[in-house]
Every structure is written in structure tokens, then in C-alpha cells.
């Protein structure tokens, strides 16, 4: 029965996905009119393609691409996308080619999210099965989390805007998704590749090393390990029931006590060092005649960490650092970055049995507190949120969050317009929407974590009764 539904669902998925791609392609032709590439929501100093084009131009004029304060991205991106940004005087514009790259990146991310979702779904069912809680599966079977997450990712207006608006965030997102997918399906080299490139592109995914190691070590999300002890004590017959189905799954899934697989983690670390060596060598070759790697680190990671650019974006830090007294600047820089780091450990302790969800929470937190957030970051974590549709079914405030996101995505451009273009508004108007947006994201993170913990509690309750 489930297979039949899946077969029915699959064509629907493909038509919807194709429609999403078509929408992007259609919007690409109106790029000039929409001019999304200069919106503060889309193009931050890190992801703006105009800045990338400037960096590429500087490189072509044999000046360091990091000369001046224009480009802060990776040199590899410059080498790959740079040639596509050159404007020709005559002939077809390269912009369409460039957009095509981003559309493909979006499609790949969506497909990877889908694959990850299917992986997670399988693990989820097995977790439930081994706990003798098949009745819960009845509700979950009707929705395929992977398809849903992929469709959310593809149809999210934020993703579309980030893709059509020519920012590099689709590529960054693709790398993050690639690394999560690789870890989920136990492909250590792939996970390492995605992780290294994601870190290279935007620094913040460095936190993902914890969920990746947990994923590779323990396998995808499962109910807390403690429950297995309880359930083996209470009902060992469930094990024999599920044993025949579990051939496809790794051994530790069905085994009550999960064993940490050091072999995969070791290979991940080796591969990660190999890939990062590659990236560094390629970058240093590219920047050979200029400042070299030290300049690259200063201009990319240094720029991210010191929040030098105070142009408005959807975060709160730009206004904060535009207003804060100079002698407090360093202190608050430390405080804000610490806020991201402080939560890593408590979350890891509480959610170590759900590494995929942990990765989602880390991504959401970093996009909430990062120095130059854009809608592309939100698009990623909202897409990943779809993966946990079964677990988070009982999340609080979901309507408020939904309405809040929609309301703010209309209100924020209006306030920006009033302030910047019309001059009738004031910076505080726009900052207020940024604060509201931050609060919404906080609510989302807190409620999703709380819902996930509640879900585990419910499982525990059900398995022990």
C-alpha cells in the first residue's frame, strides 16, 4: 500500500519540481527588471554576484581580487563563476548562463534533500519498528518527508529569490546539503568534500562537524538510545519482528545499543584534510601573484568575524555595530560570536541521537546570528525543516511562524524602501523588522527543539507503557 502511494506521489513530485524550475527559468528572463541582485535581502557583501564580478575584473586587470573592500568570497568561486559575469558588449548575455548554474545548484540541493529525507524516513520507521510502535507509522507513511522537504526548498520564495537574484548562496547551500547527505548515506569522502567547501565558502558550517561525526558514527536520526534498553526489557519480540526487514540498514540500527563507528569518522577526517589541502593549494595557486592565503583568510574569514561592512541586511548586527560605541565593539563582537558557540555543546548533548536535526538547528542558529545573513540561509533551514515533518508534527506556534515569515517578507522590503529610497522612513523602521525576523527565527529554533524533545518524550512514554 505504501509503495502504491509512493508511486503515485512520485510523478506529482516530479511535476511540482519541474514547475519550480520553470518558474526560475521564467524569472531569469526578467532579471533586469526585477534587479533582485542589489536587494539587501539577497545580496550580502559575501554573496553578491556584483562584487564577485568586481573581484574577477580586478583579477583580470592583474590586481588582487581582494584589493579594495569589494570581494570577500572564495577564490575558487571566482575562478568558476567569474568568467560568467563578464558582460559582453554584443551577443547574448552571460547572465543567463550564470543563472543556469544557480538553478542547477538549486535542483541538486533539492534532490539531495530528498534523498536525505528518504534515508531519514527509513531510519525513522525502523526506529519506531524496533520500539514496537508501528501504529505511529500509519500517520507518517502518508507524507514522504524527503519529497516534502525538497518541494519546500524548491518552492520557497526565498530560495527562488536567492537563486534568481544572482547571489552565491545557492552554491553554499548546495555544499551544506551535500555534506549532510554524504554523512547520512555514510559516504565519508562526499561528506568531507561538502563540509570543506561549505566551510571554505562561508565559515559557519564549521559547526556541522559535530553532527557529521555523529551521523557517520551512529547513523541517521533515531529515538534516544535509552529507549532501546527499556524496550528490549519490556518487549523483545519486537526485535524478531523487525529483524527480517532490516537487512538494508546498518547493523547498529537494529541493535539496541548503537556502536560508534570509528572507521567512518576516521576516513571522514582523512578525507576532510585531503580536501582542505586541495582547496588551500588551489586557492594559493590562484592567488599566487597577489597576497596569497593570508590575504584570503583576512579578507574572507576576517571580514566575516569583524563585521566591517555596515550596509543593511536582514540581520541585526549591522545596525548594532553602526550604533555601538567604538570601545565596546570588540566586546560585542566576542559576545555575538560566543552566542553561536555556546549553544553547540548543550545541543549536541541533548540531541546527539538525532544528528540530522542537530545539523538543522546549527544551520538555523548560524543563519540567525551570522554577520551577513541573507534569505538564502533562511531558505536552507526552512527546506531542512521539512525533513522532520513527522517528528515536529506537534510543534507549537506553527501558524504564528508561518504568518510571521510571510508578513515580514512583505514588510521588510517596504520599510527598506521607505528608508532608503523614499527617505520618509527611518533606519529604525527597517531595524524593527530585522528584530522581528530575528525573534521569529529564535521562536522557530526554540520551538522545533522543544517539539523534538517532546517527541522523544512521547516515544519514551509509548514504548514504556
Amino acid at each position: 500500500m505504501a509503495d502504491g502511494e509512493e508511486k503515485k506521489g512520485r510523478p506529482r513530485f516530479w511535476t511540482l519540481a519541474a514547475a519550480a524550475v520553470l518558474v526560475r527559468v521564467a524569472l531569469v528572463f526578467f532579471q533586469e527588471e526585477l534587479n533582485l541582485g542589489s536587494r539587501p535581502e539577497v545580496a550580502t557583501p559575501l554573496t553578491s554576484l556584483r562584487r564577485l564580478a568586481e573581484g574577477y575584473w580586478l583579477k583580470q586587470s592583474s590586481i588582487s581580487p581582494y584589493a579594495g573592500s569589494m570581494y570577500h568570497g572564495s577564490p575558487l568561486l571566482l575562478a568558476v563563476i567569474g568568467p560568467l559575469t563578464v558582460k559582453r558588449v554584443e551577443g547574448p548575455s552571460n547572465h543567463i548562463l550564470c543563472s543556469l548554474v544557480f538553478i542547477i545548484a538549486d535542483i541538486i540541493s533539492a534532490l539531495l534533500i530528498r534523498a536525505t529525507g528518504q534515508n531519514l524516513q527509513l531510519a525513522y520507521r525502523h526506529g519506531l519498528g524496533s520500539l514496537n510502535l508501528q501504529r505511529l507509522q500509519e500517520t507518517s507513511r502518508s507524507i514522504s518527508a524527503g519529497d516534502l522537504a525538497a518541494l519546500i526548498y524548491l518552492w520557497n520564495p526565498m530560495t527562488i529569490v536567492a537563486c534568481v537574484g544572482l547571489s552565491t548562496s545557492p552554491i553554499e547551500n548546495m555544499m551544506v546539503v551535500l555534506c549532510v547527505y554524504g554523512a547520512c548515506s555514510k559516504l565519508a569522502p562526499l561528506a568531507a568534500f561538502g563540509w570543506v567547501l561549505a566551510v571554505h565558502l562561508s565559515l559557519y558550517p564549521i559547526m556541522l562537524i559535530i553532527p557529521i561525526i555523529l551521523l557517520l558514527g551512529y547513523g541517521p536520526d533515531a529515538p534516544p538510545a535509552k529507549l532501546f534498553i527499556i524496550s528490549t526489557n519490556s518487549g523483545s519480540r519486537s526485535l524478531s519482528d523487525t529483524h527480517d526487514k532490516s537487512n538494508s540498514l546498518p547493523n547498529q540500527m537494529t541493535f539496541p545499543m548503537r556502536i560508534f563507528s570509528w572507521r567512518l569518522v576516521g576516513s571522514f577526517i582523512i578525507w576532510a584534510s585531503i580536501w582542505s589541502l586541495h582547496v588551500l593549494i588551489l586557492s594559493s595557486i590562484y592567488l599566487n601573484q597577489f597576497g596569497g592565503l593570508s590575504e584570503m583568510f583576512k579578507k574572507t574569514y576576517g571580514f566575516i568575524l569583524t563585521v566591517e561592512d555596515l550596509s543593511p541586511n536582514i540581520g541585526v548586527l549591522w545596525y548594532f555595530f553602526a550604533e555601538v560605541f567604538d570601545f565596546f565593539r570588540v566586546f560585542f563582537l566576542l559576545v555575538f560570536h560566543m552566542n553561536i558557540l555556546f549553544m553547540i555543546l548543550p545541543l549536541a548533548i541533548r540531541l546527539y541521537h538525532r544528528p540530522c536535526f542537530l545539523a538543522f538547528v546549527y544551520i538555523a542558529i548560524s543563519s540567525l546570528l551570522k554577520s551577513y545573513p541573507s534569505v538564502g540561509d533562511s531558505a536552507l533551514y526552512l527546506g531542512l525543516l521539512g525533513l522532520f515533518i513527522n517528528e515536529l508534527a506537534e510543534m507549537h506556534f506553527s501558524f504564528l511562524l508561518f504568518g510571521g515569515y510571510i508578513g515580514l517578507s512583505f514588510l521588510s522590503p517596504v520599510m527598506h524602501n521607505l528608508w532608503i529610497w523614499r527617505g520618509t522612513g527611518n533606519a529604525n523602521f527597517y531595524f524593527a523588522t530585522a528584530i522581528a525576523y530575528a525573534s521569529l527565527q529564535i521562536l522557530l529554533v526554540v520551538e522545533s527543539v522543544s517539539a523534538m524533545l517532546n517527541h522523544d518524550r512521547m516515544l519514551r512514554k509509548l514504548s514504556s507503557t
Binding site: S69, M70, V316, E323, F336
Partner: protein
């Protein structure tokens, strides 16, 4: 003042023993020299240009020593302290009108300056010390001229041009302050550098109100020193040229004929007459220039009107004095200068040169090959574009024949070189890859028209963006427009000037034409002894013009809100941190309760209600209805230990605090 007099007196006494040095008629290079000259010139648009030229020179230190009679000590010390090779400082109010006041003659290419303060200097110091020397120099000049030149100290305010022909020197720095207001407080120290100040000589007619009510005035200080460098000891030590250029509208006598040029005299312009020369000056001349366009017009009416002999009985204009000499050949179709020697006049018989027009005259001035304007495009406070537009002023051929004979260009298929130098502050973030050029409305590939390009992109809060481009433009084009896009930056609240909503100024761009030289083709080759003003005019100067200053409005944050912003943001962060941590640690209590209720008896209705109630209460105040647990009795032993630890902690903190305070 008194001290200076004393010094002079003592010097005089000392010099009694030596053979007396004649101040007048000395040859440059062996003695100090001071000349004062004034050029008056009627302009086509009924205004009068007056150009004061004071030149002081001191021989080389190795020849002459370090004590000077005439040369200002402050400048000498400046040169030696900062090892200056060349420096030019100008204070300007108003904008030079290149289309009406001339754009091709020596006067405009040398003395037309951008509004505000412009300073460039070249030093004879190692390359790594140039910036430091520049910074010190700006402070010294700032003190010397009572201006905020010290704002040029910051690395965001100056740059090092390479391609502009005028700045073709090593160790050069260029900076300008477009918004600097210029007033008497800058003029007075400038006049102090003159040996007679404004007490005698030509400078005596500098009446402040009449200067500052004019359309344009620019005081300039140009210093060339050969004290240092490879050719040390060669040439004339230090030469200090001070010029003051004003464009004043004479009081218009209402006559019936509107087209008649206004008649004016020195006293009607400045309200004073020239009370004789400064006794220390070797030369003291007043020139009246009739520019080329006017000479050509006059010639049409009869050649002898311009010549000395036909002057007295000419029907067009009348001079209120007899000139001593005529410089410049009328037949050469160049400007003519009537020279008046001031040394013939005295306080009781002052010189009041004037011109009275009898017939209406219309003429045009010499124009630069292209008229350059610069403007902003786009609206809003997020982004915009800077456009520099060059409009050909010479129709058809592109170039008129007479002035351009010297330029090595053929008429057809020829190109004109144009150098554009533009410095933008860092908060105007220019995207150089968006550089576009339109020639006669058509887009051109940049590599076809750019001969050389030097770009240094702006670094946030560190250095300005500088763009120097040598274009090769076709001669027959009518207009060319260069457009480059920019984003507007956002500044920290401390970085905004007091009146932030007024906007920010982008300094003038320099448009220079290296193929063209402005020089008055005077036949007299022995001018250096007779008039340094005309001698300077005779030098070959690259034609260049300054564009307008641009006013860029930048978005402002709310200046009154720093505390609110800090508190709001911190609240949001605290919300995040607190609520997330709360969610994460909620488990302990709940699970304990959960296990307890498991372990306890089969739950009846009442206990269930009680637990629910207690949970609710606990959420509000977690410590009030603690269910009895075995913790209180067991903790009694811990209490003392904990208390002890607390006391120790406080003591340690107190000690640390004490030492910290003592250190401070």
C-alpha cells in the same frame, strides 16, 4: 612683528660691514628676489579677472646660507623639515567657468582650481616615509594657514596619482577638501609670507569685502625647491609663487546700451588705488590683457587700435593711463599685454588703471578641446552612477587649426588623449567593472579607447578609490560619456560629520589633455628679467580642467538611538539564549517526575491533578512548591562547603579587583 624688525635691523647692521647687496636688478640664483605683478583682464561675460602674482625666490642654501631677508622663514623651514621638492596649495571659493573665462590659456590651466582646498606635494624622502611626511606636512600647513588641511592626514583622504601629466613626479601625494570654506583667516597668513604684506605694493589693494563678494577667488601657493634631489645645488634654490585670482563683476553703470562692456578701474573693483610698489620688490608691474578673441575682433576694426601708437586715439576703448610697453605681437594673433610700471607711482600719485568702453564688443575666450562635466545618476540612497561627460567645443573638425598646429595630430583618423583622474571616498564604493563609455551615444569596447589605466580600489575606512585612465578618443567625436556605478556605503555613527543629512562631497575630477599645451606664444624671450608673470605664462602647461564637486547624500542611521539599539538587540539575544537553554534543560525535572509517577502508586485522580497544578506553579515560580524530596537533609553538609567556596571566590575576586585597580 617686533622681533622680526629687530632681526632685520640686526641683519642690516651686520651687513654694513659687507659690500651692500642691491635688491633691485639682481640676477636670480645668487640673491633673494621678490617680484609683484598684477594682471587685469576683461572677460567676455562683463566680469573682470584680476590675477596677482608674487614670486619670491631664495638661492640654494649651500650658496647662500640659511638666513634670508625676504624669503619667508616659515616656508624655508617647511621645505627643509619635510624635504619638499614641490608643493602646491590652493584655497578656492566658487567655480571657474571654463566656457566663459577661458579653458585653454595658461592662466586657466595653472590657476583654475577646484572649490575648497587642494594640496599636492612631492617629497624627496624614501618611499616608505612619504606618507608620514605628508601627514606631518598637512599639520604644519594647517597651522600655517589656519585651515583644516589636517583632515588630509587620514589615509582615506589622499592618494598617489601616477598618470596625470601634472603630477608626473615621484613621491607625490594628492588630496583635496571640497567643503573647506575659504575666508580672510586663510588670506591673512598667506599675505604674511609677502615681504610687504598688504601694507604696501600691489597687495595693498586687496580689500577683503570686494574679494570675497566676487564670483571666484583662488589663492594659490606653489613652491618648487631644488634643495634636495639629484640636481642638488643647481637652479634657484626655492621658488615660492603666490597667486591670487579673482573674478569680480564691476559695478554696472546703467547705460542705455545693454551690450556695452562695463567700464571699470582698479578703484571701482577693489575700492582702493595702487599706492606705489613694495620697496623690496625687484619688479612691480600691472598688466592689462586683451585676450586673443578680443584682439581678433579689434583687428577687424583696425589694427592700430591695439598698438601703442594707435591707443590714444582709438574709438573703441580708452585706458586711464599710458602704458609703458606693449608685450605681444598683434599680428601673431595672440593676447596682448599693456604693461604699467608701478615704480613711477607713489602714495600721493596712485595708479588707478581703468578701461572705458566706447563701443560694444563681443568676443569669445579660448576654450579647451573638451568641456568636462560630471554628474550623478540614479536616485535613492542605495546606489548610483557617476558620469563624466566630455563635450567637444570645437565643432566640425573637432579641432580649430590655429592653436592645435603644434599638436602632432593629423586631421583624419586622429585621436586625442584625455586623462581622467578621479578620487572617490571609500564610502562611495565604485564597481570598476561597470565602467562604460559612450561616444556619440554608442557604446564602445573599453580596450579600444583606453590607452592606459591605473585603478586602486577603495579600502573600507583605509584608503580612497582612485581611478586614472588615459583615453584615446577620436578627434571628430562630439561627446563622450564615461559612466561607472557605485554603491553607497554605510558609516558608523561617529564617522558622520555634524550635518550628516547635507551629504558628502566627492572631490573634483581632473580632466587633462596631454596633447595640448597652453602657453602664451610671446615673442619676447627675455621675459624672465622683465616679468615673471608672463614668463610663467610662457612655460608649457598641459591643458587641464577640473570638474564639479559632487554632492552624494548618504543614508543616516538614527543618531539618537545607540542605547535603544544595544538594549533591543541584547534582549533578543538573551531571549534566544535563555529560552533555548531552558528548553534543553527542562528534561531533568520532568523525567524525574515522570519516573517518580511511574514508581509511585497507580495514579488516582487527585494526585494527577496535584502534579498538574504543581507543574503549572513551577513554571511560574520554580522554587515555591517543591515536592518533598530527599535533597534538603543531605544538602546540610554541602551548605557549609558551598558557603566556604563562595566566600573564597569573593575574596579572590576582591583581591584581583584590588590589584587591577592599583595597576591602573
Amino acid at each position: 612683528m617686533d622681533l622680526r624688525c629687530l632681526c632685520l635691523l640686526s641683519l642690516l647692521l651686520l651687513s654694513l660691514g659687507f659690500p651692500p647687496i642691491s635688491a633691485l636688478g639682481s640676477v636670480a640664483g645668487t640673491d633673494e628676489d621678490f617680484t609683484e605683478e598684477l594682471l587685469l583682464k576683461p572677460l567676455p561675460d562683463r566680469k573682470v579677472l584680476s590675477h596677482f602674482h608674487f614670486e619670491t625666490s631664495a638661492p640654494h642654501t649651500s650658496v647662500y646660507g640659511r638666513h634670508h631677508r625676504i624669503f619667508p622663514k616659515a616656508v624655508y623651514q617647511l621645505v627643509h623639515k619635510f624635504r619638499i621638492r614641490e608643493i602646491e596649495l590652493s584655497f578656492t571659493q566658487g567655480r571657474w567657468n571654463y566656457e566663459r573665462w577661458g579653458g585653454f590659456d595658461s592662466l586657466s590651466s595653472q590657476n583654475a582650481k577646484p572649490p575648497g582646498v587642494e594640496l599636492w606635494a612631492s617629497f624627496d624622502v624614501p618611499p616608505d616615509e612619504v606618507d608620514l611626511t605628508w601627514r606631518n606636512l598637512t599639520h604644519a600647513l594647517s597651522g600655517l594657514f589656519c585651515a583644516s588641511i589636517n583632515f588630509l592626514e587620514s589615509s582615506t583622504a589622499y592618494s598617489a596619482p601616477q598618470l596625470v601629466p601634472r603630477f608626473n613626479l615621484s613621491g607625490i601625494r594628492y588630496g583635496s577638501l571640497p567643503r573647506e570654506a575659504v575666508c580672510t583667516e586663510n588670506l591673512t597668513p598667506w599675505l604674511k609670507l609677502l615681504p610687504c604684506r598688504d601694507k604696501a605694493g600691489l597687495a595693498a589693494i586687496l580689500d577683503r569685502p570686494s574679494i570675497y563678494k566676487g564670483f571666484y577667488h583662488s589663492q594659490r601657493l606653489h613652491l618648487v625647491s631644488s634643495e634636495f634631489g639629484p640636481n642638488e645645488g643647481v637652479g634657484a634654490g626655492i621658488i615660492l609663487v603666490q597667486t591670487l585670482t579673482t573674478v569680480i563683476q564691476p559695478d554696472f553703470q546703467s547705460t542705455d546700451e545693454i551690450s556695452l562692456q562695463p567700464s571699470w578701474s582698479i578703484s571701482s573693483i577693489f575700492g582702493r588705488k595702487i599706492p606705489g610698489q613694495c620697496v623690496l620688490a625687484r619688479l612691480s608691474n600691472v598688466f592689462l590683457e586683451l585676450e586673443k578673441g578680443l584682439v581678433v575682433e579689434l583687428e577687424k576694426l583696425g589694427l592700430e587700435h591695439v598698438n601703442m601708437k594707435g591707443l590714444s586715439k582709438n574709438p573703441i576703448f580708452e585706458l586711464s593711463g599710458t602704458p609703458d610697453r606693449l608685450v605681444g605681437e598683434v599680428s601673431q594673433k595672440s593676447s596682448v599685454f599693456y604693461e604699467f610700471n608701478v615704480n613711477k607711482y607713489a602714495v600721493d600719485d596712485p595708479l588707478d588703471l581703468g578701461i572705458t568702453w566706447k563701443l560694444p564688443m563681443v568676443w569669445s575666450c579660448l576654450l579647451a578641446p573638451f568641456h568636462a562635466t560630471r554628474f550623478l545618476m540614479g536616485s535613492g540612497n542605495e546606489r548610483g552612477s557617476i558620469a563624466i561627460s566630455l563635450r567637444s567645443l570645437h565643432s566640425d573638425l573637432g579641432l580649430p587649426s590655429s592653436e592645435f598646429e603644434s599638436s602632432p595630430l593629423a586631421k583624419h583618423g586622429c585621436t586625442v588623449r584625455v586623462v581622467i583622474f578621479q578620487v572617490v571616498p571609500w564610502y562611495v564604493k565604485v564597481y570598476y567593472h561597470t565602467l562604460k563609455i559612450f561616444i556619440d551615444g554608442k557604446t564602445y569596447v573599453l580596450s579600444d579607447v583606453i590607452e592606459k589605466m591605473h585603478v586602486s580600489p577603495s579600502e573600507d575606512k583605509l584608503s580612497p578609490g582612485m581611478m586614472e585612465i588615459i583615453f584615446r578618443l577620436p578627434c571628430d567625436m562630439r561627446s563622450a560619456t564615461i559612466i561607472v556605478d557605485f554603491d553607497k556605503g554605510f558609516l558608523h555613527i561617529d564617522e558622520y560629520p555634524p550635518d550628516a543629512n547635507q551629504g558628502f562631497d566627492i572631490p573634483s575630477a581632473i580632466v587633462s589633455f596631454p596633447d595640448f599645451h597652453a602657453s602664451a606664444y610671446l615673442t619676447d624671450k627675455s621675459l624672465s628679467n622683465e616679468s615673471l608673470l608672463l614668463f610663467r605664462f610662457q612655460e608649457k602647461n598641459h591643458v587641464q580642467s577640473y570638474t564639479e564637486v559632487l554632492l552624494v547624500p548618504l543614508t543616516t542611521p538614527d543618531f539618537s538611538m545607540p542605547y535603544n539599539v544595544i538594549t533591543f538587540t541584547c534582549t533578543v539575544l538573551a531571549l534566544y539564549f535563555g529560552s533555548l537553554l531552558n528548553v534543553l534543560r527542562r528534561r531533568v525535572g520532568e523525567e524525574e517526575r515522570f519516573l517518580k509517577s511511574e514508581a509511585a502508586l497507580k495514579p488516582g485522580l487527585l494526585p494527577k491533578l496535584l502534579t498538574k497544578l504543581s507543574a503549572k506553579l513551577r513554571r511560574k515560580s520554580p522554587e515555591s512548591p517543591q515536592p518533598p524530596s530527599p535533597s534538603p537533609p543531605s544538602s546540610s553538609s554541602f551548605v557549609s562547603l558551598r558557603l566556604l567556596l563562595k566566600v573564597i571566590l569573593v575574596a579572590v575576586l576582591a583581591i584581583v579587583w584590588h590589584y587591577y585597580l592599583n595597576d591602573n
